[in-house]
């Protein structure tokens, strides 16, 4: 098949994927704790049509070679784990992490998932759960008699109950960090899970071992920069148009060939 057509076709494909990534980022520009994705482009294999320096006859060599590139592909999408801005909500169980570290969530199947989304609430048993209703790990239960909940910057959860002058500690929030946090596998619902690329989690108390600290009453907003995404969208659209133009031009060339030679 004609390589010129296919090289341009891979460009259309890649720009299409890029557009999907941009659209997903923009759609999540208000998602708590969302981290923007980025598509990484990679040029495809080159076909060696004529090797430079190859023998053209026994005594002579080709002075020029020719390698034809075969287009482009999306090699990977990577998440940008830079800090999103922090929004004050005043919610008792709203938390944001300043610095590294993710909250641990126990999934219904017992495995752990991780998130930067710190909007927690209580279920009917007083367990601290995320917006989907999955409990935080290690589990924390707020007694029904609690009048107020305080979360310290080191993750200590304490409550005050009626009649008790001193607050009681009911749990300790722990954060997990990864060697390659960008390698975590996103699974939707603001959650990511451990993958072969991310490495094993290192769990610790907030504020220690390079982990960030917690802030009660605030949420980390999405780190999507809408201006960047819009500029990316324009670039992507123009690149798409160029590739489409390349296909139609190559098509016209072939058309010219078939209509003029018969």
């Amino acid at each position: 098949m004609n390589l010129a057509l296919w090289a341009a076709k891979t460009g259309l494909d890649a720009q299409n994927t890029q557009m999907a990534v941009i659209a997903n980022n923009l759609a999540n520009s208000n998602t708590t704790g969302f981290k923007a994705d980025r598509a990484a482009f990679q040029d495809l294999m080159y076909q060696n049509v004529q090797q430079v320096g190859a023998q053209s006859t026994q005594n002579t060599q080709y002075s020029t070679g020719l390698s034809l590139g075969t287009g482009v592909k999306i090699a990977a999408t990577e998440k940008n784990y830079s800090q999103g801005s922090v929004l004050q909500t005043g919610g008792n169980l709203d938390m944001s992490v300043t610095g590294h570290g993710l909250f641990q969530i126990t999934m219904p199947d017992g495995t752990l998932a991780y998130t930067r989304d710190g909007s927690f609430s209580l279920d009917s048993q007083g367990n601290v759960v995320n917006a989907t209703g999955f409990p935080i790990s290690p589990a924390i239960t707020i007694p029904i008699s609690a009048q107020s909940v305080t979360i310290g910057s080191d993750g200590t959860v304490s409550v005050t109950t009626a009649g008790a002058p001193k607050p009681t500690t009911v749990g300790q929030i722990q954060l997990a960090n990864f060697i390659n946090v960008e390698g975590l596998q996103p699974v939707g619902n603001n959650l990511v899970v451990e993958s072969a690329a991310s490495g094993a989690p290192q769990v610790g108390t907030p504020g220690t071992n390079g982990l960030g600290t917690l802030q009660q009453g605030s949420l980390e907003t999405s780190n999507v920069n809408t201006v960047t995404e819009l500029v990316n969208m324009i670039t992507c659209q123009r690149a798409y148009e160029m590739n489409s133009k390349a296909i139609s031009t190559t098509d016209q060339m072939l058309q010219y060939l078939t209509t003029n030679l018969q």
Binding site: V52, S63, T64, L68, N80
Partner: protein, 246 residues
């Protein structure tokens, strides 16, 4: 048979190949650190008995455009852009040391620093590896410093240095995997003068306007060749008719 037909056919074929190179450039208009390829045509006379009247065009590598692309800010600490001339040394899939301008790096679980395409980044002594850390910083001379895991940010320690090279453009050639290699097959020496900026990426250096004009030009040239084939055919037909009527 008129052999002029074959000259025009060769021309058309080579122009289509040049169009493929141009389309490949356009397809890579968004590839980080991509360097555009070009095609040059060489005239290749066909020698035989008598005077060499026919000259075929042969498309050859016109080299790689090594001019810089546009620098975009990403504010990701592991993104690096090479300032001005120079390249980042990586280990190609074939085990040889290749050079690239694509500086979107990441750290694997094993501690290996790789490019977005998964190729290990080289230090001056071998593939770059960093111990478990909570923060990685890349300095302007390629020095990698980390905050070791479990220590406070004050405990910065310098680990290694990314190998940055600046070979002569004439010594470089693009390999089948898109990396630049030394024509001699060896390794370039590290160059202290090459500097990088962290938090930035260099875009592709494909010039959109130039590629589009090039595309149109190639299209028209292709049509010329087809026209020549057509004319050769018409000439042949007229000659045949003359023979029949004579």
């Amino acid at each position: 048979m008129d052999r002029g037909l074959y000259v025009a056919m060769t021309g058309a074929k080579q122009i289509m190949q040049a169009q493929a190179v141009n389309n490949h450039n356009i397809a890579n208009a968004s590839t980080v650190g991509f360097r555009a390829d070009s095609v040059s045509f060489v005239s290749s006379p066909i020698y035989g008995p008598g005077y060499a009247t026919r000259v075929n065009a042969v498309a050859g590598d016109g080299g790689t455009d090594l001019s810089s692309g546009v620098i975009t800010s990403t504010s990701r600490p592991l993104d690096i852009a090479v300032n001005g001339k120079g390249f980042i040394a990586v280990q190609g899939a074939n085990g040889k040391e290749g050079y690239t301008r694509a500086g979107d790096l990441r750290v694997l679980e094993s501690g290996a620093v790789v490019t977005a395409t998964g190729l290990p980044v080289m230090s001056e002594t071998g593939p770059l590896n960093i111990p478990p850390s909570t923060q990685v910083t890349i300095g302007s001379d390629g020095t990698v410093s980390i905050v070791p895991q479990g220590l406070s940010p004050a405990a910065q320690s310098q680990i290694d240095r990314i190998k940055l090279v600046n070979p002569q453009p004439k010594d470089l050639q693009k390999g089948a995997d898109g990396l630049l290699y030394l024509k001699s097959g060896g390794k370039a020496a590290a160059d202290e003068t090459v500097s990088v900026t962290s938090g930035q990426l260099e875009s592709s250096n494909v010039n959109a306007a130039q590629s589009l004009v090039n595309m149109i030009e190639l299209q028209r040239l292709y049509e010329f060749q087809i026209k020549s084939i057509n004319s050769a055919d018409t000439d042949e037909q007229s000659a045949e008719r003359m023979m029949l009527t004579a």
